[in-house]
Structures are given as structure tokens and as C-alpha cells.
């Protein structure tokens, strides 16, 4: 059990304990959900309850990386800040050398390789965050990728990370429809998924959407409330 000292060491059964512990840190973070529609990509996060005297708009869990890519994370906020900053610089660096915006996959690969590097050098601990990276490539295809502290990444149609990720993911598996044409349906799916695990409804949800060829838009509280009321009326109709 002393194999968690230096993370460059494997344990006898092939684990990197520090990476596993980092994943535990992620499970403590507030939930984030991502849904990929045909013409829109959506990221929603559970807003942490802020203290009475705290200004809540300083807690931003959805960050724009470039005009065509944005991300949300679950886990250690401070670690996320570093990753987001490096990714932003890399997006501009890519534009400078290649004259084209980076694809979502490229920036995901970049973020993942940073995370992997920190699982293989001594004296450093892995990043304690998983991230959901969404956006459109310059040819118009939408993407959703998830990275984790080990540095692996996968593409998803819809996924969740953080505290109640398992419950949310099961909900998404049940309710996801291929190639959702309607933007409203995609947004509603993300909100419904979050409502499953978030207490007291729309007030604790932060949502950002991006339509093809448009920049990221954070939904205002009133817009989210509208969707929530629409969802509740639908639910009532069904029962």
C-alpha cells in the first residue's frame, strides 16, 4: 500500500494509485453534463451553493477556450484553471502556425497529453479534474469529448462527470435520441439530466450552448427557468 508515494511507480496489480485517487477527487466535484446535438452542443453544470456574502458570478465552471470550443470540468477548480489557460494559449498558437482554428479533437488531445505527462514525472501529482470539451470543427461537425486525470480521452454523444455522474449517465442513456435536429430538444435533455440530481431545480443550473458558426452563449437564469417550466409541464402531461 506504500505504492502511492511517488506516482511514477506502478503497484503490483498494475495500478497507478495517484491517478485513481485523482479520479476520486473528480467524483467529489459538482456534476457537469454535456450533450451533442446535430446543430448545437450543450454543457450544463450544477452550480455550487455559494455563501450568503459571496458573489456568485465569480464561480465560472464553463470556460470558453476559443471561438469554436468550450469546456466544463469536475474536480479541483485550481487545477482546471491551469489546464484552461494552457489550452487557450494552444488554441491561439495553432491558429498562428496553421491559419486555421484547432479542431475539438486536437485541443482535447493536447489537454490529455498535458494530463498524461503529469502521471509520468516525479515530484508532480496528476491533475484532479475530468473535463467535457465541446465545440464545432471548422467543417461544421459537432463533437463532445471527455478527458480524465489519467490522460485518456473518448468521444461521446452525451456524458456526465462529477458527483452524480453515474445517475446522470443512466438517464442520458435512456433518453438520448440520435441526431436530435431540434436545438430545444438537445438543451432540454441536458437540463432534464441535471434536474435529476440537482436540488431545488433551475436556480442551481448553469448552462452554455453553442450553435454552428456562432460563439458560445451562456443562458441567462430566466431562460433556464423557462426551459424548466416547459419540462415540468411536459412531465405533468405524461403522468
Amino acid at each position: 500500500m506504500s505504492y502511492d508515494r511517488a506516482i511514477t511507480v506502478f503497484s503490483p496489480d498494475g495500478h497507478l494509485f495517484q491517478v485513481d485517487y485523482a479520479q476520486e477527487a473528480v467524483k467529489k466535484g459538482s456534476t457537469a453534463v454535456g450533450v451533442r446535438g446535430k446543430n448545437v452542443v450543450v454543457l450544463g453544470v450544477e452550480k455550487k451553493i455559494v455563501a450568503k456574502l459571496q458573489e456568485d458570478r465569480t464561480v465560472r465552471k464553463i470556460c470558453s477556450l476559443d471561438d469554436n470550443v468550450f469546456m466544463a470540468f469536475a474536480g479541483l477548480t485550481a487545477d482546471a484553471r491551469i489546464i484552461v489557460n494552457r489550452a487557450r494559449v494552444e488554441c491561439q498558437s495553432h491558429r498562428l502556425t496553421v491559419e486555421d482554428p484547432a479542431t475539438v479533437e486536437y485541443i482535447t488531445r493536447y489537454i490529455s497529453s498535458i494530463k498524461q505527462r503529469y502521471t509520468q514525472s516525479n515530484g508532480r501529482r496528476p491533475f484532479g479534474i475530468s473535463s467535457l470539451i465541446v465545440g464545432f470543427d471548422f467543417d461544421g461537425t459537432p463533437h463532445l469529448y471527455q478527458t480524465d486525470p489519467s490522460g485518456t480521452y473518448h468521444a461521446w454523444k452525451a456524458n456526465a462527470i462529477g458527483r452524480s455522474a453515474k445517475t446522470v449517465r443512466e438517464f442520458l442513456e435512456k433518453n438520448y435520441k440520435e441526431d436530435m435536429e431540434s436545438d430545444t430538444d438537445t438543451i432540454k435533455l441536458a437540463i432534464r439530466a441535471l434536474l435529476e440530481v440537482v436540488q431545488s431545480g433551475g436556480k442551481n443550473i448553469e448552462l452554455a450552448i453553442m450553435k454552428r458558426d456562432e460563439s458560445m452563449k451562456m443562458l441567462a437564469q430566466e431562460e433556464i427557468e423557462e426551459y424548466v417550466t416547459a419540462i415540468e409541464t411536459e412531465k405533468q402531461k405524461k403522468t
Binding site: S64, L65, N85, R88, V89, C91, Q92, R95, L96
Partner: protein, 166 residues
């Protein structure tokens, strides 16, 4: 001309290659600021940032030999024009020019510029400068592309192509 942001243009002339390298580097850094901070740099800040970069490179082994004009519209300060030369001197000016053409156009601008010019009067003044170049400048400059910045952003005006001398 390089679009630094929605309301800032950078005109970069000088050594071949240096112009594009330097201007694109500044352009991407201005964009990075926007991504990091959620809002765009003001024209004044962008001009000073550019000046600092140019000045830092000036005393390195790889100086950039470029002359710049930075134009932008600020929500609070209104429109602004900044003149910067290859020695990294920065000045906010009501009108400016670089190159040999400046010897001819600056006197026209001196004579006819007024601080309260309307948009059309300003474009006419530009046309006057180009006509003067057409008359007295040794090189034949057949076409000029024109851009205008106002509170709505950057607009492409029609190309100015002065006809043969009378």
C-alpha cells in the same frame, strides 16, 4: 491590414515577412486576452501592448522592422488612431501616414483636417490624399483598399482607383 479584434485594425508595413510575422503574433495575443478575460482589449491598451512587444524585440538579436498604424473604436473614448514607427515610438494622432507617400499626404491632411469631420468628409479627405499621390508621387499606385471603423465595427468601403493624370 490585420483585424486584431471586432473594432481594431492594424496596418503593418515594412520589411517583407516581418510585417506578417509581427502582426499575426500581435493578433493572436489580442485574441488570447479576449479568451482569458472575457472581453476585448481597448484600442489604447492594444496599441501599448504592441509598442511594448516591438520595443522588446528592438534590442534583441531579431528586431522587427515594421511601421504601424493602429485604428480602433472604444466604447468610452470613441475612435482613436495610433501611429507607431519601427523604433517603437507611439503617438495618438488625428491623422497619420507612413512611407514616402507621407511626405505628400501629411501636408494635405494638415491643411484640410478638422476635428469635427463627418464620416463622408473624412472619406473625401482620404480621396484628396490619394489624388495628390496620383499627381505628384513618382510611383504609380493604381488601387487602394479602404476600411472604416465606427461603433458598429469594421466596414469595407469600395476600392479607390484614381484615374490617369490630367
Amino acid at each position: 491590414m490585420f483585424k486584431l479584434s471586432d473594432k481594431i485594425l492594424l496596418l503593418c508595413v515594412g520589411e517583407a515577412g516581418d510585417t506578417v510575422q509581427f502582426a499575426e503574433y500581435i493578433q493572436k495575443n489580442i485574441q488570447l486576452y479576449k479568451m482569458r478575460n472575457g472581453y476585448e482589449l481597448s484600442p489604447k491598451a492594444a496599441a501599448n501592448f504592441t509598442r511594448k512587444n516591438l520595443a522588446d524585440y528592438l534590442r534583441s538579436r531579431t528586431p522587427y522592422h515594421v511601421n504601424l498604424l493602429l485604428a480602433g473604436f472604444d466604447e468610452t473614448d470613441g475612435p482613436g488612431l495610433y501611429y507607431m514607427d519601427h523604433l517603437s515610438a507611439l503617438a495618438k494622432a488625428p491623422f497619420a501616414a507612413h512611407g514616402y507617400g507621407a511626405y505628400l499626404t501629411l501636408s494635405i491632411l494638415d491643411r484640410y483636417y478638422r476635428p469635427d469631420l463627418t464620416r463622408d468628409e473624412a472619406v473625401d479627405l482620404l480621396k484628396k490624399c490619394i489624388e495628390e499621390l496620383n499627381k505628384r508621387f513618382i510611383l504609380n499606385l493604381p488601387s487602394f483598399s479602404v476600411r472604416l471603423i465606427d461603433k458598429e465595427g469594421i466596414h469595407d468601403l469600395e476600392k479607390l482607383m484614381p484615374v490617369g493624370a490630367k
